[in-house]
Chain length 284, copies 4
């Protein structure tokens, strides 16, 4: 059964929950999910609500319009409306390391996620064989300082042609240009191999070893134009000891990276992430 998913935020005022739930209920929608949160610092109300469209009195294609007119204007809301019969289309960008890519594709192939992966992009040929194992088109755009703008333009063209909604950087070892980031606002998901904000930038495991930390982490975040500073979606950590070499950290970190990235991608696919002022609300 098709469901509608509504994510919204607006200045907090009494009565919003009552109004929105009433809107759905009087129009004979059955609410199957509601999670809300008030940021009392910023005085912002956030909500995610999901209802079954079977028997809903407002036609699917007019819901957005009605909601805009009746509530969004009145409460100064920002909102996004989704339907569960539309599968988002995701591109995966990789370089040379395969662990995150395998994890994404194993879930995809097993049918765990409501998503399409029409293509994989890389700046190296190394992982073409993985794409071929899973029968997914692999596009290689080698990038140098000189050709970066041009290659990214070709990538953007490819993404447009394939109707890509969001991009997953699965250990893609290239900084994305501002122009590309701004074309996919809060729709490029990166995995950084440290517990951000510790160890921003290159070689975080080497830095973690040098600092002598007892726990390492991985962080999945939306990409913004400031390096490794975008809104965090998910983090996790694992305990290490003085016996762990840099290679041990890299090895233990790989398991973290793939799990943390996949959890973040899943939350995004389920439309449970909402970004506000560089922080995420992750609905339950």
């Amino acid at each position: 059964m098709v469901r509608a998913q509504l994510l919204l935020h607006c200045p907090d005022k009494p009565g919003i929950i009552a109004q929105v739930t009433n809107f759905i209920t009087v129009n004979k929608g059955n609410i199957v999910y509601l999670d809300q949160y008030v940021d009392h610092v910023e005085n912002i109300f956030f909500m995610r609500i999901e209802w079954e469209l079977d028997g809903f009195l407002i036609p699917k294609e007019k819901i957005e319009d009605y909601f805009q007119t009746l509530y969004a204007q009145k409460y100064d809301m920002s909102f996004r409306l989704y339907f569960t019969d539309y599968k988002p289309r995701m591109a995966v960008f990789v370089s040379k390391m395969s662990h995150c890519l395998y994890d994404l594709l194993a879930r995809y192939t097993a049918g765990e996620w409501e998503v399409e992966i029409p293509l994989i992009v890389s700046n190296h040929e190394d992982l073409r064989h993985v794409a071929e194992r899973f029968d997914i088109p692999f596009h290689c755009f080698p990038i140098t300082k000189e050709n970066k703008a041009e290659q990214e333009a070709r990538e953007m063209e490819l993404l447009r042609e394939n109707g890509i909604n969001f991009i997953v950087l699965a250990r893609y070892m290239q900084v994305i240009s501002e122009q590309m980031i701004e074309s996919y606002p809060n729709r490029i998901i990166n995995i950084h191999h440290s517990f951000l904000p510790a160890f921003v930038g290159a070689k975080p495991y080497h830095a973690a070893y040098a600092r002598g930390v007892k726990i390492i982490g991985a962080t999945s975040h939306y990409v913004t134009t400031e390096l490794d500073a975008g809104p965090i979606i998910e983090q996790d950590v694992v305990r290490i000891t003085h016996k762990d070499t840099v290679n041990d950290l890299i090895s233990k970190g790989k398991d973290l990276e793939k799990i943390v990235l996949s959890r973040a991608v899943q939350k995004h696919i389920e439309r449970k992430c909402l970004v506000y002022k560089n922080r995420t609300i992750i609905f339950s």
Copy 2:
């Protein structure tokens, strides 16, 4: 500012959230907390809602009555209503180990919790000195097979006299009788020193060592008449290795026990626990 806290559950039907939030809003209450959950297996709706009473049109002492008449009957609801200007009264039961008691009293003395602790009960004299350090009356009821019923009757009398709302068993090494349990349904909180349901009963650390587990845990639960089988409020774990002796497990376990128990007590004090069919809903 005084707030009302309403916890309820009932068979799930469309419109309940809208009705309840509307009830509060039209009567000029400002909702500051809402968390809800639908158990789709049992088809039960659960909700915790909290609002400021300042300016609320219905007098505090009549809210329960109004809510009962207008909604509880209609939706076949069970509900409990609390006010934040009433501090619950908690009794602590201990035996010989001090770690949980110190942790509870340190928080209490530092003013972390909205609770009163008018007394400590024990079946041994060992921890009288701790109670004295914190100036809390200590009542010792040594228990033997012969005097158990009589001693528990005296304890119950003492609890009544002191208006005790709930009991915390802080490593109290005595099984509570059915009669006492039934007098405090879902209001006796125990800490069991294992990851339940593994290692029910006595000497769980010895059993964990013998089984060779790699992780140990602690579990806080409401006491029911079946040993260590009541609704679980909180659990946590810590990693161990083959190098850890039984004494190491006991030592590492103590830190778990006190933290897990204190988290559970805090959730109970904040009225964020709801029990349904031997499972807890822990509101966020």
Copy 3:
């Protein structure tokens, strides 16, 4: 450079470490790893020591004999000697769920492990396509109550022909017969989808849901003839809430299962597991 790896245990006595390290050092071996542990309950000494064979005065093929004569007899030792130029050969058994298999094969294909995987065995055809993606022979032995003994005999024959050293049950949903278990003592690694010893047997996620636990786990262990009771190699857990349905537990559990199984397999491949009386010593 080839290294020797020696794992041993014996009744604890003064001087064993000195004797063993001296044996290696005077024969011009360079020790690159030493981990030891004394079980003071059983009074057993355990050790894992690794040294470079380059320049070692005793020929590789005679080390076992010399060590047996000079030390093992004297101290009543059990020991196993390995060389790093021999890759163990591992068979993977699967049924219908692919997540553990993908995780094992992704690591294998990426060259993370010093192991050979010459074949995959299943009682169902479902995962043949995964084996084919990775170009590994897939052998299907459908099992019924009637043909079980016969099919296992064929499996055993296949394992022998392929020189299989150890077996990994990657969510293989069939109980292995005693005969097969005894042919591979402490060399069959299983993943059980619960935090053992809680929820032994079938449908542990359903049982965990029913019990209302706040944390779920996965356990990798060597298979013994008693169901889910063998020596535990590795465990891990993840936090859940009352909002998680049985399907959520299954989904979150899958990530645990694959990581826990792969960690256990890695420890086994590195010859860092030693079993003594149903407990494992996992060397660092």
Copy 4:
């Protein structure tokens, strides 16, 4: 039975373990603990070894001298020798928050640690009542910019008079001067309320909230002259969500802080910490 505890490090060479264990064994010492580690990056060998002195042929007061002459010179070792019949003397420094102090004193009073706590130092009067509850002398040295050098001189004098071996900063909200730090090299233990190196300096919970992290941490480290940059002894973390306010982080963080600090103090008391180039080796 009294035991000797020897911690050492030196350039790694073949034969050191054999030599040291042989030294103890031939002199009739029974080794009850051995943990060693080779840093292959720096090529340094580290070892902690513990043996029973009963029947040991070298008199207790001459062991250091013998070991220096026979081995330390030869291998260019740094070493420290302790005996288990000497209880180290620890001073606790606090400001206004009581949670770490209570946790330390509860363990101390329960006899969990082989340590003496002859005094508590503070720059505020707030926690005098806690010291009094536990009958430990409380010394208040209010500190201003003007009197800091003078007050620290008085503190140092007090520490000397009381034979203090090491200092625990239990949320002491004052930067310690270089002179004092250098008088207690790797013997001042601090708890920092973040997952270092993230959020160095003041108000880390506010910074963590602003950055929108999904996990917070606490770090216990030896104090060096660079702020929050000393060798890390222990860290731990706890998961948070967007719903947690700064006050929630502070509250959840308190539990981390006290546990992490107490674990670090315990490791120090057990002489299981060794510092090398701003990293710690924490023996098992």
